[in-house]
Symmetry: C2
Subunit: 205 residues, 2 copies
């Protein structure tokens, strides 16, 4: 089955790799077809336009990521804080690879396409918030444990995604994944400061 991928899947996989390396606009349909080993006819058979591929590849990336994190080892942990910190550690560990391997296709695409391709923007929003919301139950449990009703679980989940996106930009700018890892270290410290201290009656910071 592995070598029997159809043209659509091959194009989506190629798009994931190439777009993460050079962005959506700089990636041409021709290059995508060449990388995927199919012809332009196949491309426009499966996607009515380049924009439609952008929407599809966002979904494709979301599904791949969902599978990656759903089967990650830390999911067996029982304590929500352990699991949340293990998520951050897991993302930090992935930084050991090459830039196009660990960066987020959604952040890369939405950055250039948010104004020019509304459909792509919407698709990226869907996948990013969808992934963020997988963290929300644990965060909600932790907030309840600390008696903090001033923080929105979904908001903190999105903040975590934001820090990740920012870390990717730092890595791209410096060419050094350690800068990104250091940033995720600060995120980790924030979460421990929030959740590893005693529950409080009056809301502090």
């Amino acid at each position: 089955m592995p070598p029997q991928k159809d043209a659509r899947t091959k194009l989506l996989d190629a798009a994931m790799a190439v777009i993460r390396g050079k962005g959506f606009a700089a990636t041409s349909v021709d290059e995508l077809c060449q990388t995927a080993g199919v012809t332009k006819g196949a491309f426009f058979h499966h996607f009515r336009s380049k924009e439609e591929l952008g929407v599809a590849v966002a979904k494709h990336f979301g599904e791949m990521a969902a599978g990656l994190f759903a089967t990650a080892p830390y999911q067996t942990m029982t304590d929500p804080l352990d699991r949340l910190l293990a998520y951050v550690d897991f993302r930090t560990a992935i930084l050991a690879g090459e830039i196009p391997e660990y960066t987020c296709l959604l952040g890369t695409m939405v950055q250039e396409a948010y104004a020019t391709h509304p459909a792509i923007r919407a698709a990226c929003e869907r996948e990013i918030t969808g992934h963020a919301l997988t963290l929300a139950p644990d965060i909600a449990a932790l907030l309840a444990r600390q008696g903090r009703s001033d923080i929105d679980p979904a908001g903190l989940a999105l903040h975590i995604q934001g820090v990740l996106q920012g870390a990717f930009i730092l890595a791209k700018a410096t060419g050094d994944a350690r800068v990104a890892a250091d940033s995720l270290g600060h995120l980790r410290r924030y979460l421990t400061l929030l959740f590893e201290t005693q529950p409080q009656r009056k809301a502090l910071p």
Copy 2:
């Protein structure tokens, strides 16, 4: 004097606005010239290539930002923590405008150009770290005050820039600046948790 800007400056100003809206690759030289009200001849008189404009506009943006923050009201504050938090508040306040007005040209450009245009990547790194380092002295003072030698001032300064970049991506993805503001709220809370508590002998998180 305002209407007497030369072609080079007009092109750089136009590039700052247009590239923040649609990215570097999707912006054509022709569109830049049209927006700036100059001809293509003028463009290639001042810049040998589109890439060279990219490098120049990164520097241009850095200088504009430096001016903006150097003259910001909070610079008169005396306490380093007040000043650092006021910086975050200042950046949060700017989010009230339109997306292309408050987002960072450097993050937008380096995201697409880090692999294809090394010179642009280097220019963006220079400007981002340069701006981050303006926060480092206050951060160093605060870390010393807390007796924390386990945190690198420049690293925390870069983390702050990373969170900002991530917040911009969240705003672009959701089309809602409040999501970005909420993320900066978490950054603010992290800084207060770090710096508003009592100095400690043994390093905690």
